[in-house]
Symmetry: C2
Subunit: 198 residues, 2 copies
DNA sequence: ACCTGAACACCGTTCAAGT
DNA sequence: ACCTGAACACCGTTCAAGT
């Protein structure tokens, strides 16, 4: 019998549960999937699951923050020269793709956040960080002459994020419409916001 | 004993229940409010409630469609001359105000729609109608020279609606931020989309 | 015809007992 | 230290019985 427990176990278990949850949410949506289903998928008992997550909402929160973190990381690769618009469009595509299979999850996350101050605060902090990075990129682009400076960088960033999320939200309704169409529309919007001269 | 039932009763009951539901949702959010709470507020029994609505989701659906219908009606009053931008801004303010007290409801409606094909279809039909009206307004404005024609009217309409809903969504996270700030940001976006020359 | 409210079904969460 | 799974609590929905 080991005196010390496996220090990697908690992280492994959390990953195991999150993977199972994503799989289930994808199949039946957040509302309809049961803790028992997640447990079956993760080959674990309810009691064990609650050792690693406080609640079902806590599981969505973890997934939401993870997705956000990935999106934010992609921002660092954004060029601030004349490739800016295309970079933003690529980012939008990645964002839409992240929610392609679990389209409903996007809406569920926001609904959960709206009713759960803890998740709201965590998501809010991530969101602020994301917006600040995007603002910085736009600011540099304006200085470099790659973006039109009539719009305050912070306003442009907020508008772009709102539009991106708005398109993602609307895509949950029109599941038939393909991603490229959404990307094209978002790209057009970004172009008008950042380079109105062209 | 009357041979014919009061023909206005069903509509009255539905209104009574919807008012009660709105009140409850405002206070505790969609998730947390209980059918029993709505019943208490409406002074009616659960059995009676289910005579007028199929499910809890059906109640949100009714509220969602009602809110949408109001927003759509406001579109008719939109000027297609140089007051267009201000008209759109006023519309955005009304939209934000409609969800001011039940901020979480906005996200809940989408989450519900994402998981409920019936609601999705109903909301989708309304949405299409709204977009077509907005498209027509923009088209007229472009012809009148009040909007810049570089953007296809349908794309502009879709972008504006996505942005409007994106801002509304994000407002559920930042409850502190006042409406005027959101309206100002949306107005700026609309300006860049429709009148990039200025 | 419309309503009541107890009963049912389901599911998120807990906890006493195991190894 | 970690896990199991039966039990609990809660709530959306139904339905037999009332008027």
């Amino acid at each position: 019998m080991p005196r010390l427990a496996d220090p990697a176990l908690p992280e492994r278990r959390r990953g195991q549960i999150l993977d199972a949850a994503r799989e289930c949410f994808r199949e039946r949506g957040f509302r309809l999937t049961t803790i028992e289903e997640i447990c079956a998928q993760a080959r674990i008992s309810p009691g064990a699951l609650y050792r690693y997550f406080d609640s079902k909402a806590d599981i969505v929160a973890a997934i939401a923050l993870d997705t956000r973190a990935q999106a934010e990381a992609a921002l660092d690769a954004l060029p601030d020269d004349h490739g800016l618009i295309d970079g933003i469009a690529a980012l939008a595509r990645a964002f839409f793709e992240a929610f392609e299979q679990d389209a409903t999850l996007f809406a569920d996350i926001w609904a959960e956040a709206a009713g759960d101050p803890v998740l709201a605060k965590a998501l809010g902090a991530r969101d602020r960080a994301t917006r600040e990075r995007l603002t910085a990129v736009i600011e540099r682009a304006q200085r470099a002459g790659a973006a039109y400076p009539s719009l305050a960088p912070a306003d442009a960033a907020e508008a772009l994020m709102a539009a991106l999320e708005g398109f993602a939200l609307r895509r949950t309704l029109w599941k038939d419409r393909d991603i490229s169409e959404a990307v094209r529309r978002f790209r057009t919007l970004a172009l008008h916001l950042l380079k109105p001269k062209r």
